[in-house]
Amino acid sequence: MFDLECENIIKRFGAFTAVDGVSLEIPSGSFFSILGPSGCGKTTLMRMIAGFETPNRGDIRLKGKSVVNTPPNKRNVKMVFQHLALFPMMNVGENIAYGLRCRGENKTEITAKVAAMLDRISMPGVQEKQISQLSGGQKQRIAIARCMVLNPDVLLLDEPLGALDLKLREHMKIELKQLQGRFDTTFLYITHDQSEALVMSDNVAVMNAGRFEQIGAPETLYHAPKTAFVAGFVGDSNRWNGIAMMADGDHARVVVADGLEMVVPIGGARPEVGGQVEVFVRPEAMQILAQDADISTAGMNTIEGTVDSLLFNGAASRVLVRTATGLLIEIVHRMDAGQVRVKPGDAVKVGWTHGAGLCFGEGG
């Protein structure tokens, strides 16, 4: 049973196609994210699901029933807006009660439901507070509670963390995930921030230029991207353009722009020999090899260069290495004990196994 299905949705604004043949199915009770750069059509897609836009073609089904012709105020999808859209002219209690009042439920029941909802989001007794008295995180929770009190089939969240500062955003990611588990409701979350999508979701759809590039679990997207766009958009990568010299089985031998040669696994379709390819290598897949130590480099790609700068960031610290031809390579490198110590100006050798990295042919 799917809570939400979209089938081949197309939405055009004049000559511009914002959403171009998108299909998705979201199983009950899961956390689903749509991840894409701004302008990729994800907000339009969400607005169609909420009913604020009508698709030119395609069908949207909630719990199996088509809602394309249902007006927005009759659909049982609720939405948390980008800037939350809490009603400033009402207090917290009235905000949460708003949807219940619209349904015409009786007063005592509404009061009880509001109180119970505030308990569930661990903010009991704030009914009388004004919206302006709440902190950013509290507003977030009230915006979710205002929707959840209506038991929606699906809860849509439109980049609700965008306006928060970094610390609070990190905290809210975890809290949102927990809230979703507690309510056991399907969440459809829209974001351009890959870490939000990866951390919270059961499944993520990566969207680009009106189309889904790939749908999958976060690990799958990270480790086995199907397209160059996904490989580049999800997670950090060193990214080079090159030419495929040879392709056999699932590996290709590639010469990148400045003459370096490497062996990388093929993602997507096998590239033509002599054709353009893009190579992606994750910084954490690379390591700085000790110059003097006698380590076998068989089965490894290696590059020589000099350390350009050290980017300290605790466990996520990195080293920038510049090759003789001016290529900059980013490598995850713990600067504390146990690893090769480097300083800017040092000559180093960088290596990674033939199994790491991916290359995609043109249009792959």
């Binding site: 999808v77 807006f81 800037h83 002219m89 949807g99 209506l150």
Partner: protein, 287 residues
């Protein structure tokens, strides 16, 4: 340090003195008009003959206070009555115009928007005579064609209302539109999303948001209507509003302290109303 202010102490003093003089200039005629309302004398000039409230409440000749002056009181009632009707009408139309220009797309929108502003730059006298002429033309044609005597289109209360409405609507439209422009449309979508009908959204979200602006538009329209002279002068019939009655008195009888009393009353009244509108504007929740 405030970079905008003059840096030398001397210039700063001169500047402040100028500002003080300016406010004295602003206050002087109002003060003069108000003070003789309380002078116990039959002419509004020095010397000061002692304090009296007779020009407000007196009921024996020669000191007939404004509240016992039948014609002034009738003028006041007319002004109130006209003011309320005109303000209600122009706030209603102004609200429609605000929604029209803020929310809708239609052909010639920019040209029509200019049309909406234009009444503000037409001199009031011209608005007055043009409406007078047009109304008479309509009335005359109706008279000739159907033998109907449309006396409502002759100078009188209806024409005064129409004339004031013609330019007050621009003011109310601009005031309400300015507020609507700041409205976050996602609030309406959120309400819709939570299951409210369009009418309910309007009643529970949009209108409560607009209401302070509508109220202050009402106050502004009322005050401007109350004090309007130029347009009204051309359109007035037998039921003259207060400003016209006062002017008549001034020209025919000359200035008497009862006019000072009316002036004082008007100043206090409109001051309080203006203050009220400011307070309402400021009290609006989180902005």
């Amino acid at each position: 340090m405030n970079v905008a202010a003059p840096q030398s102490a001397f210039l700063r003093t001169v500047y402040v003195l100028y500002v003080v003089c300016f406010f004295a200039y602003l206050a002087a005629p109002l003060f003069a008009a108000g003070m003789f309302a309380f002078n116990d004398s039959t002419i509004p000039s020095l010397p000061w003959r002692g304090f009296t409230l007779g020009w407000f409440f007196g009921d024996t000749d020669p000191v007939i206070g404004m509240f016992h002056d039948r014609r002034l009181m009738r003028g006041l009632t007319n002004s109130l009555y006209i003011g309320v009707i005109v303000s209600l009408l122009s706030v209603a139309t102004g609200t429609c115009n605000a929604f029209l220009f803020e929310r809708r797309q239609f052909p010639f929108k920019n040209a029509l928007y200019i049309m909406m502003i234009i009444p503000l730059v037409i001199p009031g006298v011209i608005l007055g005579i043009s409406i007078l002429v047009f109304a008479s033309m309509v009335a005359n044609s109706a008279d000739r064609a159907f033998g109907q005597n449309l006396s409502a289109l002759r100078p009188g209360t209806l024409l005064v209302v129409v004339g004031q409405f013609s330019f007050l609507t621009t003011i109310t439209s601009l005031v309400i539109q300015a507020r609507l422009k700041k409205f976050d449309i996602s609030l309406e979508e959120a309400a819709l999303n939570l299951g409210a009908s369009r009418l309910k959204v309007l009643a529970t979200v949009t209108m409560p948001y607009l209401s302070p602006a509508m109220f202050s538009a009402f106050v502004v329209a009322f005050l401007v209507s109350f004090e309007n002279f130029n347009t009204t002068l051309m359109l007035v019939g037998s039921d003259a509003p207060l400003t016209i009655t006062m002017y008549d008195r001034m020209v025919k009888v000359g200035s008497t302290p009862v006019l000072n009393a009316v002036s004082f009353f008007l100043m206090v009244g409109s001051g309080l109303l203006a203050l009220l509108s400011v307070v309402v504007q400021r009290d609006r929740p989180s902005d």
